[in-house]
Symmetry: none
Subunit: 151 residues, 2 copies
DNA sequence: AAGAATTTAGAATATTTATTCAGATAATAT
DNA sequence: ATATTATCTGAATAAATATTCTAAATTCTT
């Protein structure tokens, strides 16, 4: 809780969770959490994290992560899990299965990964997976791998 | 070339095409194009367009559209493709078909547009289309048109 | 371990951006 | 047509943010 890495993580978290309109505001929140820094440093941190103030719909400015960074960073690789392939698009994941298997696998996921997975919708060979907020792609991938490998 | 609407369009275009580091820079470019305005107005314009300065990888700041606005710009028009209608919402597209046709068309899309389409899920007359990352709405629309017209 | 080089950060400040205030212009209603 | 209200804009200024300059702390090299 005292090094730069921790601080950056804390900043990112706060920006995602709270509604922050300027750096001084964020500075205060960080102070409450025990991070002691100046506006100059915060400005540099935000630059490094690529966080910026963006206008919202109500005519205010709010700090936010650039959209693309919410999910992961890279352009989403396809991951093979057994006979299936997993790929992400935005907040969603799609698992392609062998024909006819989607329903069964989706049921397994629903049952065994509900902490991370909000819900699934299965077609014949495709499962749409809606992750819960707060889980990143790596986590989701790992959890789904576990579930599928145990089937 | 003299009203606000035109100016906003010009600003948006410049931000997409050029590399702009601050408002004065943009102001100059606009002046060259015949738009005469002050920094105050530009600031307001940018707010309205939700354009902001975001840090790039090289340690500079560049003006950019919020990611979500790149996709199209307008609130997503419904596009008619044969007997079907296509509309976007966020990263997703929905294709409405005649009753009973969704499954068949979805299968065609899966087969013939998989480079751009991560997956589809079909009901009776509705197909949920999950595009791959990196494809914009126009590209998706065009690819889907091709596929459907060849059925 | 000592020195060189890099990273980190604060204070002060420069730069940039947003807003206030006032006046103009356009739109709507009476 | 005139009053009323809303929209738009510039000048000046306030507010917010980035950077310069300096020094301390850390990491790397030999």
């Amino acid at each position: 809780m005292k090094n730069k890495t921790d601080r950056l993580r804390a900043i990112k978290e706060m920006v995602i969770q709270q509604s922050i309109g300027n750096q001084d505001e964020l500075l205060l929140l960080l102070k409450e959490k025990g991070y002691h820094l100046t506006q100059a440093t915060l400005s540099r941190d935000l630059k490094q994290l690529k966080i910026t103030k963006i206008p919202n719909d109500v005519g205010e400015y709010r700090y936010a992560l650039p959209h693309s960074l919410y999910a992961s960073g890279k352009p989403s690789e396809t991951k093979i899990i057994g006979n299936n392939s997993l790929e992400f698009s935005g907040q969603l994941a799609v698992l392609k299965t062998r024909s006819g298997y989607a329903g069964g696998i989706a049921a397994e996921i629903d049952e065994r990964a509900s902490s991370a997975i909000l819900g699934t919708i299965a077609g014949d060979d495709t499962i749409l997976i809606i992750p819960r907020e707060g889980f990143n792609r790596e986590e989701i991938t790992s959890i789904l791998s576990d579930v599928i490998e145990k089937i």
